[in-house]
Amino acid sequence: MLHPFQSTSASKSGGAVIPTALLVIALLVILPFGGLVREALRGSPGLWEHLASTVLPTALLDTAILLAGVGVITTLIGTSAAWLVSAYQFPGRNVLQWALLLPLAVPTYIIAYAYLDILHPVGPVQEAVRWLLGYESPRQFRLPDIRSMPGCILLLGFVLYPYVYIPTRAMFLTQSGNLVDAARTLGVSRRAIFWRVALPLARPAIAVGVSLALMETLNDVGAAEFLGVRTLTVTIYTTWITRTDLPGAAQIALALLTIVVLLVMLERWARQKQSFVTDARRNRPLPLQQTSMLHGLALLLAGTIPVVIGFAAPALYLVKEAWQRYQFAGISPRLFDEAIATLGIAAAATGATILLGLAAAHAIRFNKGRPVSGLFRILMLGYAAPGTVIAIAVLIVLAGADRAIDAALRQWLGVSVGLVFLGSGVAVVYALTVRFLAISAGSIEAGFARIPGSFDQVARTLGHTPSDTFRKIHIPLSKTMISAAAILVFVDCVKELPATLLLRPLNVETFATHLYGEAARGTYEEGSIVALAIVAIGIIPVILLSRVGAKH
C-alpha cells in the first residue's frame, strides 16, 4: 500500500535496476556538457584573466541589465493582463484571453527584425509621427533608436510576457475564488483585493513565469545582436565565430550556465511554493466584476496593447512586406531548399526526441527508484541551457569525434571522409535533441503518470510482458500527449536559431538562419517571407495551448 506500483526488482525479473536505455540517453545528454568543461579547462592559463578584463565585464553588465529589465516588463504586462481577464467581465474578454498568448508565436529575433524596420527613421511609424507633428525630415525629428538596451528590453518584454501571463492566469482561475470571498467578508474592498490577496497568492506563479522568460532571454542571440546589446550569449557566439577561440567561448558558456542554474533554482523554489498553494483543489475561479460599456471598452483597449505590439503589428508588417516581395520577385527556388532543410532538420530532431522520450518514460515507468528518477532528471538539463551553450558543447564533442574518425580512416584505409558529424547535419540534430528532449520526455512521462499502476498489473496478469503492455496500453493511452509533444518540439526546432546557426552544415540555410543572415547584413529581401512562415508555424502550439486553457 506504500508503493502503488513497484515493479519486480532485479533479482527476480532479470532486468537491470538501472535500465541501460535510460543510462545511454542520459550519457548522450551529459556528454556535451562534459566536453564543454574540459575545453574550458584546456584554455591557456592567462585566457580567463584576459576575458575577465576585456569582454566579460560588459557582457555580464549588459546581461544583468537585460535580465532585470525583461523581468520587470514581463511581470508588469503578464500579471496585469492575467488580472484583467480573470477579474473583469468586458466585451471581447474571451477572445482577448487567448489572443494574449499570440506573442509566443513570435521568436525574439523576429520581433527585433520586424521592429528595426517598423521603427526605422524612415519607417511607417516615424513617418506617421512626423506627419502628425508637421515635420518634414528625419533630421528635424526622430524617436529614440530602437537599437539600444531599452529597445531590446521592451521588445523582449512584449514577446516574453506570456510566460508570466499563463501561470498567473491559471492561478487566478483555479485558486482565488474562495479566498477573495473570504477576504471580502473580512472587510477588504474589491479594489484592494488585487494588492492584498491576488498578488501575494500569485507570487510563486509569477516567479515561475519570470524565470522561464529569463531563460528565453538568455537563449536569445538574434534580437540582442540586431539591437546592439552585447550579452553573454552574443559574446559566446562572436568569440567563436569571429575569433575562433573555442576555449574562450567554452569559458563564457560556463559563466552563462551558472546564471542559468540560479534561474532554475528560482523556478524550482517557486514551484514548491506553488504546490503548497495548489493543494486546495476545490477552489473556484474569481467571480467576474461586471463593467459599464465605456469602462469595458477601456479595459479591452488596455488588454489589446500587448497583443498589438507583441504580435499584431509585427505580423501585419511581415504580411505586407512578404506580399510586396512576392509581387516583386515571386518565390525564389532558394526558399524551397530552405524549407526542405528547415522541415527536414526539425523532423529529424523531433523523431529523435520522441523516440528517446518514449524510451526514457518507459524506463521510469517500469523501474521506480531513486537512481532512475535521478537519471531522468538529467534529461531535463538541456531545456534550461541556452542554445548557444549547447551548440558550443556539441561542437566541441563532435569536432573531436570527427577528427578522430577521419584520422583513423586515413591511417587504416587511406581515405579521408572529412567531417562526418558536423558536415552532415547530425550535429545540429543532436544539439536540438539535447535541447528539447525535456519537452518530449517530460510530457510523455506526465502522460504515463496519469495511467494507474493497476493497468500495468492487470495487463501483466492477463499474459502480457512489460513491452507488450507498453505497446498496447501506455502508447495508445498517451497518444494525445505524445503528439502534442511532437508538435511542440517540431515548432521549437523550426524557430530555433543559435544552435542551428552554429552547427548547420556548410551552405545549408534554414528559415531562421536565412533571416539572421539578412538582418545581420541589413538587407531586406526575402526575410519577411521566411519570418512570416516561422510565425505562422509558431501559431500552432499557441492554438494547442489555448485549447488546454479552455478546458480549465
Binding site: M1, L2, H3, F5, Q6, S7, T8, S9, K12, S13, P452, S454, F455, D456, Q457, V458, A459, R460, T461, L462, G463, H464, T465, K472, I473, P476, L477
Partner: protein, 362 residues
Amino acid sequence: MAREFERTGSETSGSVASDAFLRLHQVSRSFGKTAAVKSVSLAVRAGKVLSLVGPSGCGKSTLLRMIAGVEHADQGRIVIDGVEVDGARFVQPEERSVGFVFQDYALFPHLTVRENVLFGLKRFDRSSARAKADAVIDRIGIMHLAGRYPASLSGGEQQRVALARALAPDPKIVLMDEPFSNLDQGLRAQVRGETLALLKGLETTVVLVTHDPQEALSAADQVVLMKRGEVIQAGSPYDVYDRPVSAYAAEFFAPSNKVQGVLRGNRVDTPLGAFPVLERTFETSSPIVYIRPHMITLSPDGGEIVGKVERRVFSGDTEEVVLRIEGLQEPLRAVASKRLPLNTDTVGIHIERDKVLMFDPA
C-alpha cells in the same frame, strides 16, 4: 468453448483439505524499513473463497499482489497448483494464470468491453478468442454492453466487465482487491452476491481482499484476519466470529460492550452478574468481558437486570438501544430484536451468559 470456460478449476475441486491449491509459506515483504508482510503462511483449497481482511495498511493488498506476481516476496514461497511461483524461482505475472480484479477495475479506456475481455486471450487464435470472450460476456450477462467503452458504463457494469476480463483466460485463481468498495451501498450487496454465486458456480479459487468485516464473513469459506503484516487469525467465518483469538479480533468483527470482571473460581463476577468461564481465554484474574449487542435480549416486561433507556438509534431494520445500568459506568448497547414501545423508560435485560467472550485487559 463455453463448456471449457465453465470447467475452470473443476479438475482440482475434488482435492482434499490437505493439498491446498494455493499455498503461502512464511512470505515476507518490506518496503524500505517498513515491513509490509511478516512471515505469512496460508493455504486455500481449490474452488474455495478466502478473504483477507484487516484495516488499511495491514499488508493484505501487498500479499495479494505477491500472489499475482506484480510484487515479489523478499522471503518465503508461493505455490499455485503445485507449481512454485515465488521462492527459489520467480514466475512472471504473465506466466502465472491468475485473474486480477482491482478496486478501480482498471478497465482500459481505449478498448471496448469486448476488446477489454479479449485482451487476456492473446494465446488463442482470433476466432476462438472471440468465441471465448463472447461466452464469458454472455455468462456474466453483459452482452448488451460488448461494443461500449468503459467510460459510458455505470460502476456496477464496470465491475462486471472487470470480472469478465479476469475470468476469460480461465485463470487458476481469481484475485480481487476491494472489488466492491467503489459501488454504492445498495448495489454493493447485490453485485457481491451475484459475483460470488457465479464464482462458486465456476468452482473458481478466489482470494478476496477487503477491509469490510461483513464482506469478509459473508463472502468467504475461509477468513484470514491481518494486522500490521501478520496473520492474527484464520478460520471459517463462524470460527473467527464466534471464537476470536484476541480482543482485537473480537472487536474487529463486532464492537462489543466491555465490562470489567473479577475471576472467582470458575466464574467471572461483574456489575452485570456472574459469567461462567467455559474456556480459559485470559491469564489475569481480572479479565474484561466482551458482550456483543446481539447477545442481549430486551424485554419491556422486566428481567434479571433493569436498564434505563438513555437513547435509541433507529435505523429501520434494527434499532440500537443505549442503556444506563446501576453500578456500570459505561452505557450498555443492545440491539432490540422487537420494537420497544416508544414510551419505554426501563427494560429488562437478558444476557446469553455462556456466549460472552473474555480477554485480558489491553
